[in-house]
Symmetry: C2
Subunit: 138 residues, 2 copies
């Protein structure tokens, strides 16, 4: 299945999620681990579409999520910075999800600069992340 | 906001719904009314995207759905046959929603031929409609 860029943007406007988790992690300098991820979840009957996204981006994994749900997931900082973010810079989202994407991008650029390795950096990232994905309950 | 065809297809693959309701209606010859509709529901923060869909298709309405949800809705048989169906024939859906679309299209063509005005036609339409939108619980 071959996907056009605008189809991907439309589908991600509907079904995609940009999320940044922050976990306590005593072994790390800043005491926390910052975990950005891009996911698209679908019913298992549409696993083929998730595999097509994986092929298109050339990164990430397709795994079972919960029950009959499958997820395409990209967690690698390098793949997010080199493949996912440039794609949505070139093909902007049209829903308010573009605001979440902008915050996600901002956090990834901070991580690229190593800011997530200091306590101050983690606090700033936590502040930005707390403003993402609000009002999306179904 | 200008929408490209492939963006619309991707967005509808995620968020669109093709539905056919059948209501008892004693005044009608076949005792039932067949009510096809195409809908896209979004959080009110993305009402702008629904209005862009309405502009693109040149038909339908944008109304409040439930609570903070808005819906773009096309119910006119003529608009479904002349605008919505030809669009998705030309730009096929990529998820299994294309199977629902195919059944929706089949029912609309039966309605165009007047089959919904006979009891046998309504029963056949009911049979097709009962096989739509299964396995989509979130």
């Amino acid at each position: 299945m071959n996907l056009e860029a605008q189809w991907i943007t439309g589908f991600v406007d509907g079904e995609g999620c940009f999320h940044v988790g922050i976990n306590a992690h005593p072994d790390m300098t800043a005491g926390h681990q910052v975990l950005p991820e891009f996911t698209v979840v679908q019913h298992e009957r549409d696993a083929q579409v998730l595999h097509a996204l994986k092929s298109h981006f050339g990164c990430g994994v397709v795994r079972r999520n919960h029950g009959d749900r499958m997820a395409y997931r990209v967690r690698s900082k390098e793949h997010l910075l080199e493949r996912i973010i440039p794609f949505f810079e070139k093909h902007p989202l049209k829903t308010k999800k573009r605001v979440d994407f902008a915050k996600f991008r901002r956090i990834l650029l901070k991580m690229e600069a190593g800011e997530h390795l200091t306590s101050e950096g983690v606090e700033e990232i936590r502040r930005i992340a707390s403003q993402m994905n609000r009002g999306q309950s179904r």
